[in-house]
């Protein structure tokens, strides 16, 4: 039976069925490439075959793909260079949880409720990652978010999803909630809330590419020695004595996993007490060094170099703009 497409008027030159999948490969690719972002997104939601067509041609210029985990659902923001698309996928508290019936999408020129092609939350999350070819940035930032949510279900739907960054601001990150983070294991994790000793230790032993801890969470030398993250950022203060002890232990091969440390530091340059009893080399007063931190190239001066037992060198400096004590292990790439 023929049908009249939605929104068309009687007598209008309307478009009827067209066997897209029977087109020659080059033509099918051409058609897909000619769809604008909104239609490309909608087309990708038609079926897995359509998704394949889209992913074979679509290389979006994307700033980021984020997901905010909320009590009633997942809020995605697809930040393209020229427009933002917001997607909301609700979840229910049925046991076992069922796939969402609708996907709510907000395009720049209006909102649409799209029927879910019977995909689970897990598949929908992967769908966005595949179509937009991007790892996720996750957020948990409101009290209402996590309380009442089936954590097991969240762990299930996010397990194996690639998160390049995850920020947890509020509510408290308990050991129970930590299970979610451990099942996601993002590359960068920023728990912006205070952490109990148990949770702090739990996070420190994970192999993050970057972990940021904030006061009032306390971080002592013992914590630093068990850290498995490659980069550790901390906005708390360490005394010169603490740093002196750490550098001595590092020279003696303690915690060789850490490659970068960025801690708050009050002064503009390193106090000599930090290097008391430590053989080191000082960069000339006119010299400077370019290093890349957080994807940004910065210039540091008054750099001091120390040498580990196995011959690996590390540079220690203060980046005055950020008031940060910087410790970077020098390898071939740095």
């Amino acid at each position: 039976m023929r049908f009249r497409p939605y929104g068309s008027q009687v007598g209008e030159d309307v478009v009827f069925e067209f066997p897209f999948l029977n087109l020659p490969e080059k033509a099918a690719k051409n058609v897909t490439r000619m769809l604008d972002t909104e239609n490309m997104f909608i087309f990708s939601l038609c079926s897995r075959v359509c998704r394949k067509h889209v992913t074979s041609v679509y290389r979006p210029a994307l700033r980021f793909l984020s997901v905010a985990i909320e009590r009633r659902g997942l809020n995605f923001k697809i930040a393209l260079n020229n427009q933002d698309i917001f997607v909301y996928i609700g979840y229910n508290r049925m046991n076992p949880p069922a796939p969402p019936y609708w996907i709510q999408v907000k395009f720049p020129n209006g909102e649409k409720h799209l029927r879910n092609p019977n995909w689970s939350h897990r598949e929908l999350i992967r769908h966005f990652m595949r179509v937009f070819n991007q790892e996720l940035v996750g957020f948990v930032s409101r009290e209402s978010i996590i309380s009442g949510v089936n954590l097991n279900y969240l762990c299930h739907i996010f397990k194996g999803s690639k998160f390049k960054d995850f920020q947890w601001s509020y509510p408290e990150l308990t050991s129970e909630r930590c299970r979610l983070i451990n099942s996601i294991l993002p590359k960068k994790f920023n728990p912006r809330c205070g952490l109990s000793t148990e949770v702090k230790r739990n996070l420190l032993i994970q192999h993050y590419e970057s972990l940021s801890l904030y006061t009032p969470t306390k971080l002592n030398l013992d914590d630093l020695l068990v850290t498995n993250a490659t980069e550790l950022n901390y906005n708390g203060f360490w005394t010169d004595k603490d740093w002196n002890r750490f550098l001595k232990l590092w020279i003696g091969m303690a915690n060789i996993r850490v490659k970068t440390l960025k801690f708050f530091y009050g002064g503009n340059q390193i106090d000599d007490d930090v290097f008391r009893g430590i053989p080191h080399r000082i960069m000339g007063p006119e010299e400077s060094k370019e290093i890349v931190l957080d994807g940004e190239s910065i210039t540091v001066r008054n750099v001091r170099f120390i040498l580990r037992k196995d011959g690996v060198e590390a540079m220690v400096s203060v980046y005055s703009r950020w008031h940060q004590f910087i410790f970077v292990v020098c390898d071939d790439e740095s």
């Binding site: 939605y6 069925e17 067209f18 999948l21 029977n22 897909t32 290389r59 029927r115």
Partner: protein, 201 residues
């Protein structure tokens, strides 16, 4: 020297050797014959190579049988050659790989493609087979325009897209049709599983 300042030279047009326009003859699979100019043929990479390889003279074109295009019917081929004649001499666009691909449909092309979807489908196949880049572009653009403002459910109907479940069912059916023994093995396996056996073999 600017164009305005260039010396004007009177040219005796009769003295210029005018190259005689050559028209090739093509025949569709339903035995309809078409005469197409040499310049129009250049829009089709496939036909251009074909006539070059044949090396026909004007007499050959008239005396030898028309070149058969066996997988395109007369109605479609007429549209193709109409398009080629209208766009003869135009540069063939080069694909820069951009997404979204921007293509405008000129007025003539829009009128030419004011056809039913069955014929549009055949036209796309013909443009692809004959490698007529711009005709393929504009016809694909017409298909892409069908997606404007549709929801996934509407798009599935417009583009006749099977759902995942239908796809899987078709795949299963194809597998079973290919290997009838597979179903028997599967049933036997299920039966053994029900009976609590761990090993199938």
């Amino acid at each position: 020297m600017s164009v305005e300042n260039a010396p004007v030279v009177d040219v005796d047009e009769a003295a210029i050797p005018v190259e005689k326009k050559m028209y090739y003859r093509f025949e569709s699979n339903d035995k309809k014959e078409f005469r197409v100019s040499e310049l129009a043929i250049q829009q089709s990479e496939t036909l251009n190579r074909l006539v070059e390889a044949m090396g026909y003279t004007s007499e050959d074109v008239e005396n030898k049988p028309a070149i058969a295009i066996e997988n395109i019917d007369g109605k479609t081929l007429k549209l193709v050659f109409q398009w080629c004649e209208h766009h003869k001499g135009e540069a063939i666009p080069v694909d820069d790989g951009s997404v979204p691909k921007i293509v405008e449909i000129p007025e003539f092309d829009a009128k030419l493609m004011d056809i039913d979807n069955g014929l549009l489908f055949k036209l796309i196949w013909a443009a692809d087979y004959l490698n007529i880049v711009q005709l393929l572009n504009v016809s694909c653009k017409k298909v892409a325009n069908m997606a404007q403002g549709k929801t996934p459910a509407q798009l599935r109907r417009v583009y006749l897209l099977p759902s995942d479940e239908e796809d899987e069912a078709a795949k299963r059916a194809a597998q079973e049709a290919q290997d009838p023994r597979a179903r028997e093995v599967e049933e036997e396996f299920e039966e053994r599983k029900r009976q609590g056996g761990n090993s199938f073999f």
